[in-house]
C-alpha cells in the first residue's frame, strides 16, 4: 500500500468518526432531560401531636358480686364502708378480710393494703411519703417503686403503643400501668399463643421438645 492510499483511508475514517460524533451528540442533547425527583427531607423537631395515655376510669369501686336486673355489675364505692370503719394497717392478704371483698387475690410482694391505699380516704391513694394521689395518677404510685420500668416506659420500651412513630405527623396512644398489670396481682398472666405455624400436607413437625 502506498502512502497516498493510506492517507486517503485515514481521511475517510476521520470524517466518518467526526460525523458519527456529531450525530451522536445531537441525538443525546436533543433528548428531554429526565427530571430526577428530589427526596423529601425529614428533620427532627418538636412533636406536633400528643401522646395519649389511658386514664384509669372514674372513681374506684368494688364489684359487689351481685348483678342488677339487666345484668350490669352492682358496684360499691369504697367510702360507703370505709368512712365509718377503723383502718387496719396490718392487713396484708385477702384472706384476712372479713366483711367485704373477702379472699380478694393479692400477690404483690410484701405490701400491705395501706402501702398504696390511703387509710384516711380509701378513694385516694398515697405515696410512701404520705402525699395524696388520685386514682387517675396511679402511674406515679407504681413508678415510686418501679422506677426503672417507668423510665423504660417513658423511653418507649415498655408497655407498647399504637399510632405514629413520628409525632410530627400523628399522635400515639399508650397504656397506663394498670391496663396490663392488675395492681393486686400484677404478674403478667400466661397466655396461649395464637397463629400456630402450619405444616405442609404430609410432613411432620420436627420433635424439638428437649
Amino acid at each position: 500500500m502506498n502512502k497516498d492510499l493510506i492517507r486517503k483511508l485515514l481521511v475517510i475514517v476521520g470524517v466518518i468518526l467526526i460525523a458519527a460524533g456529531c450525530a451522536g451528540s445531537f441525538v443525546y442533547f436533543s433528548q428531554p432531560k429526565e427530571v430526577v425527583e428530589e427526596l423529601e427531607v425529614w428533620t427532627p423537631g418538636e412533636a406536633k401531636h400528643p401522646v395519649y395515655i389511658n386514664d384509669p376510669k372514674g372513681i374506684a369501686v368494688v364489684d359487689s358480686g351481685k348483678r342488677a336486673q339487666d345484668g350490669s355489675i352492682i358496684a360499691v364505692r369504697c367510702n360507703t364502708c370505709h368512712t365509718n370503719k377503723e383502718a387496719n394497717h396490718n392487713t396484708k392478704s385477702g384472706d384476712e378480710l372479713v366483711d367485704f371483698h373477702q379472699k380478694m387475690p393479692f400477690k404483690h410482694g410484701s405490701l400491705s393494703c395501706v402501702s398504696c391505699h390511703n387509710p384516711e380516704n380509701y378513694e385516694t391513694l398515697h405515696l410512701a411519703d404520705k402525699t395524696k394521689l388520685d386514682f387517675k395518677d396511679t402511674m406515679q404510685l407504681c413508678a415510686q417503686c418501679h422506677g426503672k420500668k417507668f423510665r423504660d416506659y417513658n423511653n418507649g420500651s415498655h408497655g407498647g403503643m399504637t399510632g405514629y412513630w413520628d409525632l410530627q405527623r400523628g399522635s400515639r396512644q399508650r397504656n397506663t400501668c394498670t391496663d396490663c398489670h392488675s395492681p393486686h396481682v400484677p404478674a403478667y398472666p400466661t397466655v396461649m399463643p395464637v397463629f400456630p405455624p402450619k405444616v405442609r400436607q404430609g410432613s411432620k413437625l420436627p420433635d424439638r421438645s428437649h
Partner: protein, 322 residues
Amino acid sequence: MSAENNQSCGSGCGCHGDKPSEPSNLFDRRTILKGAGATLGVTAFAKALAPITEWTKDISVDEFLQKHYKELNKSELAAVIKRMEKETKENYGREVNISAPKPQKGVKFGYALNLSVCNGCRKCAEACHIENNHDRASGNSYIRVLEMSKGSMDMEHGSADYQHPVPQEDKFYMPVQCQQCDNPPCVDVCPVEATWKEDDGIVVVDYNWCIGCRYCEAACPYHARRFNWEKPQIPAEEINPNQSYLSNRIRPQGVMEKCTFCLHRTREGQMPACLEACPTGARVFGNMLDPNSDIRKVLETKRVFVLKEELGTKPSFFYFFD
C-alpha cells in the same frame, strides 16, 4: 474383485461406490425412523412449551413488558399502579389503594426487641399475616417466633412450632423477621437486581421483576425470605386495602417477598403492624437518625446485640434484655 471395483475403498465392506445409486424410496426404513423420531421430538417440544399458554392467562402484555421499578418515571408508575388496582379488583373482588411512598432523607429505620418482655404469644406474626395480605391457607407470616432455651442465642436451636401456654419458665422468646441488613446477602446474590436496599434502610423487592429463583432465600441467614408457591388466596373482606407497590400489594405466584417494616405505614409516620399488636410492648421502632427517638434511647442505654454478628450482615434489628 479388486480388478473390477477399482473405485471402491478396497476394504471389502461391500460399499458399491461405482454403482448408480438406487432411487431414494420415501418409505424406506431410514426415512420412516427419522420421521417418527422427529414427530416425537416436535410433540415433546410442544408439550414442554405448553405452560406458556397457561402463563398468558395470568400475565398481561403490559405486565410482561414492565420496566424495573427504579426505571419507571412518575407517569409510568401511575399507569402501572392503576393497572394493578384494576387487576386486584378483577382477581380478588376488592377495591384497593396502592401507594408508592418514597423514602425520606434523614430517616433510617431501626427496630429493637426486648427479650425480657416478649412472652411468645405470636400476636405479631398474626398481625403481619393480616396486614401484608398473605395467602390464608399457608398461614404465611414474615415473623417467626422462636422458643429458645436460656443460655444460647443460637437461632438454629430455637423451636418455632410450640403450642403450649407461654411464657414457659425456662425459655425465652425471640421473634425473628427481616433484619434489613446494611450489608444484605440477599441483595448481593440476586441475579436480576429485583431486590435492593432503599435510602431509609428498608430492603425491598420489585415483585414484577423477580424471577423466583429463590437464591436470596438461600442467602439469607435469618430465614427472612418467603416464596409464593401458589397464587395467594384471600377472601375479599379480609384484604387490607391500604397497600403499596413495594410492600403489601397482593403478590403474583412465583415471586419472593419479605418483611418491609410495613413501609406503606412507616413511611407515612405510623408504627408497623407487629409493634401495634404486641400486647407486652416488647417492640421499639423509630428513626435512628432522630436523637430523641425511642430506638435511639434503647441503643444508647441498653445492652443491645444482633443475631449472627459474625456474618457481617450489619442488621438494623437489635435485641436486648432488660
